[in-house]
């Protein structure tokens, strides 16, 4: 999910949280502080890379997808769609 928020370009943590909230229509409201450890883990596993950047006189850490991260995002998205489709089919069959 975090990988998807930086698919179109580098974002800092605050913007990533805003993007999750915006895309989910406010449905996904995780404690924002827990996003950073997740970003750090993704970076440690080579799916994200980050650097400090000066934005509007503020220094922020920007995260962006690596090549591996882009490939992982594709795989995870495909898995999710299959899972979502399967669950929808089961629920739809019960209805």
């Amino acid at each position: 999910m975090l990988l998807a928020t930086v698919r179109s370009g580098a974002r800092h943590g605050y913007a990533i949280c805003e993007e999750i909230r915006r895309r989910s229509g406010g449905e996904l409201d995780v404690p924002e502080g827990t996003v950073y450890p997740a970003l750090h883990r993704l970076e440690a596993s080579g799916l994200l890379e980050s650097h400090w950047a000066d934005e509007s006189r503020r220094r922020r850490r920007l995260y962006r997808l690596t090549k591996r991260g882009r490939a992982a995002l594709g795989e995870h998205a495909e898995q999710w769609y299959r899972f979502q489709h399967a669950v929808s089919a089961v629920i739809g069959g019960l209805a």
Binding site: H12, E32, T34, Y36, A38, H40, R61
Partner: protein, 282 residues
């Protein structure tokens, strides 16, 4: 942004009116075992995030303390954030640290033993050196060899006293108080030759299996004089030193290992405490 800036923030405000600063301070305390770089980065990002969230709320008309409190509430409790980070590497993997301590303790114990043994060996030669120089001086002054090395015989196999042997320039024995199995043991020729050449020579001499002598050979006008002493007492002292150093190493290692492992187990539940945390899907 430095860690200090991340923790202290801007100008001090009365307690309770700066929720962001208070939060950062509490978070910094809880991250003290997470490594300087990791802690510094997370605090900088947390401060930036909280400041941006509060600013957005202020722009919408909220007063600053309320905006900061709302930002803190959205960020999650310190416990939730710490739980999402997980325990410090030291707590997750204490064994490398214990292994490092074991290596350091072993090096320390080895150094202590090496210096202690060196000291014992040097001390073992001190009486022989003094006696040898005294005997060489008396021989050079004309005193006969039988007079300086004519005392009661000393059995090298068990007698801890010093023994004196006088040799001429060609290495032939002139007089000696040293006895081993009833006869006078002769040192290797090289021992006397080196002393004759350089004026003095200190060696560990083994005239027979199980019999070791700390010997000092000194040149005199007509040859060399060799004074020796059984190393049995020195070797006994070395064994005591080795045992003491080993016991010290073992006790130190066990105490530090138990303390490290106990500490890591004691801290781990704290790092994972708090309410169930909805961690974002990576």
């Amino acid at each position: 942004m430095s860690e200090d800036q991340s923790v202290s923030g801007g100008p001090q405000r009365p307690e309770g009116t700066a929720p962001v600063d208070d939060y950062i301070v509490r978070l910094a305390r809880r991250l003290r075992w997470h490594g300087i770089r990791r802690r510094r980065r997370l605090l900088a990002e947390a401060r930036d995030h909280l400041t941006a969230t509060a600013k957005a709320a202020i722009d919408e008309g909220m007063d600053q303390p309320s905006a900061e409190q709302a930002a803190v509430d959205r960020f999650g409790s310190v416990e939730q954030v710490v739980a999402a980070i997980g325990p410090p590497r030291l707590l997750r993997h204490p064994l490398p640290m214990v292994a490092g301590i074991a290596v350091a303790l072993t090096l320390l114990a080895g150094t202590i033993y090496a210096f202690g043994q060196q000291g014992l060996r040097q001390e073992a030669n001190d009486p022989q050196t003094a006696i040898a120089h005294d005997v060489a001086r008396r021989l050079s002054a004309g005193e006969p060899a039988q007079s300086v090395a004519g005392g009661p015989a000393v059995d090298l196999a068990g007698d801890p006293r010093e023994h004196v042997s006088v040799f001429d320039a060609s290495g032939r024995p002139l007089a000696s108080t040293a006895r081993l199995d009833g006869s006078q043991p002769l040192p290797p020729a090289g021992v006397l030759a080196r002393a004759h050449q350089h004026g003095r020579n200190s060696v560990t001499w083994q005239p027979r299996d199980g019999v070791r002598v700390a010997a000092v050979a000194v040149r005199w006008n007509g040859g060399t004089v060799l004074v020796g002493r059984s190393m049995r007492s020195v070797e006994r002292d070395e064994q005591v030193l080795l045992r003491d150093v080993f016991v010290g190493w073992l006790v130190g290692f066990v105490i530090i290992a138990i303390a490290t492992l106990g500490w890591s187990r004691w801290r781990r539940p704290e790092a994972a405490s708090g309410a169930p945390v909805p961690v974002p899907v990576d």
